[in-house]
Symmetry: C2
Subunit: 126 residues, 2 copies
DNA sequence: ACAACTGTATTAACACAAATAGTACATATG
DNA sequence: CATATGTACTATTTGTGTTAATACAGTTGT
């Protein structure tokens, strides 16, 4: 059974869910450099999805540098997961800054923000 | 000329853009309690958009409690902009917490996060 | 009273993207 | 050689967003 799952009832396109799922597995460390992905056909069969949809997702992932595909060989996680994760951190920093700016625009109390953030930080500590 | 604008070339649905735009105007204080919105027909004419699309956006806004509509009278900003803005703050706090949690999961340095946040906070000060 | 405007409702048609279905090719693997 | 791989292509279906054209009931201002 593959780690890759999908919700057919979601409003977000299946191929996009696949992209997000693979990314998440890379971020979580469940997928490491040069790990093999399920073949287009086997994953399609397992998820009861058309192979074309799987390939579309793999194409998008390859375009983003998350995976690479070798004809007649298979598809594999990028050898540079380090860079992929670094890019992700950058995205999150941008999101963080934007959210803070929006809170400030709403005239939110800086003390409250600090409190919430400290709480969120400790919330899920090991 | 109305404050409400739309980008026809965007991939996000027009009615959704309208919803987001009205919300943003409420958050920014440009729209206040019981302010009148453009009529369905006039806004449709001004933006060169079908009236049905405008009404769909207004329906969504009413369902969210952002506006209210009176048949034969017009559509107006909710009398409770305070609660609307408070809800928005809540959304932003949730987003903030989630982003922080994701950064932590990526093993990001807490010092770096603090630095970026302090920078983002001062970035757009008056 | 009346013309002009309001929100609302309905039905039909069109456009586009997502997804499916089916087939085919070239290549690697054991 | 049989099997599995990524890739390519066309056709079709499906759902959603958008437009189009009316229509109704109620208010507003003159």
């Amino acid at each position: 059974m593959s780690l890759i799952t999908v919700d057919p009832r979601s409003r977000t396109p299946i191929y996009e869910q696949l992209v997000d799922r693979v990314k998440a597995l890379v971020y979580a460390g469940d997928f490491k450099a040069d790990d093999p992905l399920p073949s287009v056909r086997s994953l399609a069969s397992e998820l009861a999805i058309n192979p074309n949809t799987i390939q579309r997702a793999y194409n998008a992932l390859e375009a983003e540098g998350i995976i690479y595909s070798l004809p007649a060989r298979g598809s594999f996680i990028s050898g540079n997961t380090e860079g992929v994760i670094e890019s992700r951190k950058n995205e999150l920093f941008v999101a963080l800054s934007r959210t803070l700016r929006q809170l400030k625009e709403l005239g939110c109390d800086p003390e409250q923000i600090k409190t919430v953030m400290d709480l969120a930080w400790r919330e899920t500590n090991d």
